[in-house]
Amino acid sequence: MAETEKITIYAMGKAYKVPAGLTIMSALEYAGYQYIRGCGCRSGYCGGCATIYRREGDYKLYTDLACQTPAEDGMYLVQLPFVPANKSIYDLDKIEPMETTLVEHYPEIVKCVSCNTCTKACPQDLDVMYFIQAAKIGDFKEVAELSFDCIQCGLCAVRCPADIAHYHVAQLARRIYGKFINEKVEQLTKRLNEIEKGVYDKELNKLMKMNKAMLEKAYKKRKIEGTK
């Protein structure tokens, strides 16, 4: 293959030449940085590599995940090592899901001016501003659904002019929804009781005593659900 094309990135203002086609994360590693902070799952699930950057000749600040974003020529990069956002401490068992519950725990949400900066900052493209609006009126279901893919990177919180910690608000809303509002499923309680009563002990004891040949035979005989 031909000599790989190089681009220039600026790590906290310092220029490095790196090959094109890397992520921001691997470009910085190529340049010689070893991450301690600012790197987690490397797949876009943990929110550990929240990055703020600017493009040369553009005044705007952009936000994304270092592990999922291609490095571009002329990027000025910095990663957030930590987001010191406020989290409410609560005993979920004692919470009553009311319209005002979320406002009580996070009164700053009423200061939202709907500027939508949070939404623009979200690397998951979630409707952050609208779930905060839903939180203001105690619509747990709406908050839970709109925020479900939140990876809690904290970029919304650092960009918010009203100092809201959107991702913590959403966490509380989802837990309230999951515990108090989501439908209860009976089969689980039934199975728990059966296990407690020892309904399956005999069968399990028998399986545990089988030698490998007997187990293999039983395994091959299994009927696979969903196949003919």
Binding site: V113, S114, C115, N116, K120
Partner: protein
């Protein structure tokens, strides 16, 4: 003499001569300008714009949603609100951007993730919509006339002020709510407080003041024979209903009357099941009055 002095940015850039001449004159008169130890821009860039645009983002975003939804659904470019406060906020933001292209442009630029607001949405309060649909329609739909009720219509501030937001052509002598309630058969009274403030947010910090307002308003309508007040704003409703408790503590002789939100009474007239109308959520229970007047079952 010495006096604290704030120079500002322009006098240090394009108008240096303003500063130098002033200081010279002052000096001549024995005045010493003592510059503030630290200072920042006065904020003229923003304050000249008479309003902080940030606070208009929320209502304009609502208007953009209306504009876009209306396009998608093929509706007339209108938006109706029920709450007086929302009505006023959205209406005034609309008014602002309709009459100031520059501000609209700034807001549109800030909200670059949204389609531009074209400043064409017509914001209506529900009362206006009812008036527009026509008194006849209300009459036609009235199954149980409200003729047994003598009502005081209360407008408060947000439906009428400022003038640009007024839902009535005569903000100082409004009659739109009376027209609508009368169409459903009710009788209405005239009284001096109908467009005066209920005490608004003072209810949080100055309960007593709001309670006095409530006393004044309620005594006035009771003296003129009203059975109840009908209104449109949730904050007015809170003050006139909830604060009757404190008002009574201050004026033991005050007569309590129920406070209705106008569609609750229209609903009764139209024969809608009273369970849907939420009469259980009031501080002063309206059900005894409604039972007495045979508007709901005993």
């Amino acid at each position: 003499m010495e006096i604290a002095y704030y120079p500002g940015c322009t006098l240090r850039t394009s108008a240096k001569n303003f500063e130098s001449s002033s200081i010279a004159v002052a000096d001549h008169l024995g005045i010493t300008f003592k510059e503030l130890s630290q200072w920042n821009c006065c904020g003229t860039v923003y304050s000249l714009a008479s309003d902080d645009l940030m606070k208009h983002l929320a209502p304009v975003r609502v208007l953009i949603r209306a504009q876009e939804d209306n396009k998608e659904n093929g509706l007339d470019n209108k938006l109706v609100t029920l709450c007086s406060m929302c009505y006023n906020t959205v209406k005034m933001a609309n008014h602002l951007v309709k009459n100031d292209e520059e501000k609209l442009d700034t807001i549109n630029q800030f909200m670059d993730e949204e389609p531009d607001y074209e400043a064409d949405v017509n914001v209506l309060h529900f009362l206006q919509l009812l008036d527009e649909i026509g008194i006849d329609r209300i009459k036609e739909n009235t199954k149980k006339s409200l003729e047994v009720l003598n009502l005081a219509c209360y407008y408060g501030c947000y439906l009428l002020r400022p003038e640009e937001a007024s839902i009535d052509e005569e903000p100082e002598a409004p009659s739109i709510m009376e027209r609508i309630m009368e169409a459903a058969g009710a009788r209405t009274i005239d009284y001096p407080f109908k467009n005066e403030c209920c005490g608004s947010y003072l209810t949080v910090t100055e309960k007593k003041y709001t309670a006095e307002r409530t006393y004044k308003i309620i005594s006035s309508v009771v003296n003129r024979g009203a059975d109840a007040i009908v209104l449109s704003c949730p904050l007015c409703a809170f003050n006139l209903d909830r604060r009757q408790k404190q008002a009574k503590e201050l004026h033991a002789n005050m007569k309590s009357i129920p406070i209705f939100y106008f569609p609750q009474l229209l609903g009764l007239a139209f024969g809608i099941n009273s369970n849907e109308l939420g009469f259980n959520m009031h501080y002063v229970d309206p059900r005894p009055l409604l039972k007495e007047k045979r508007l709901i079952k005993r």
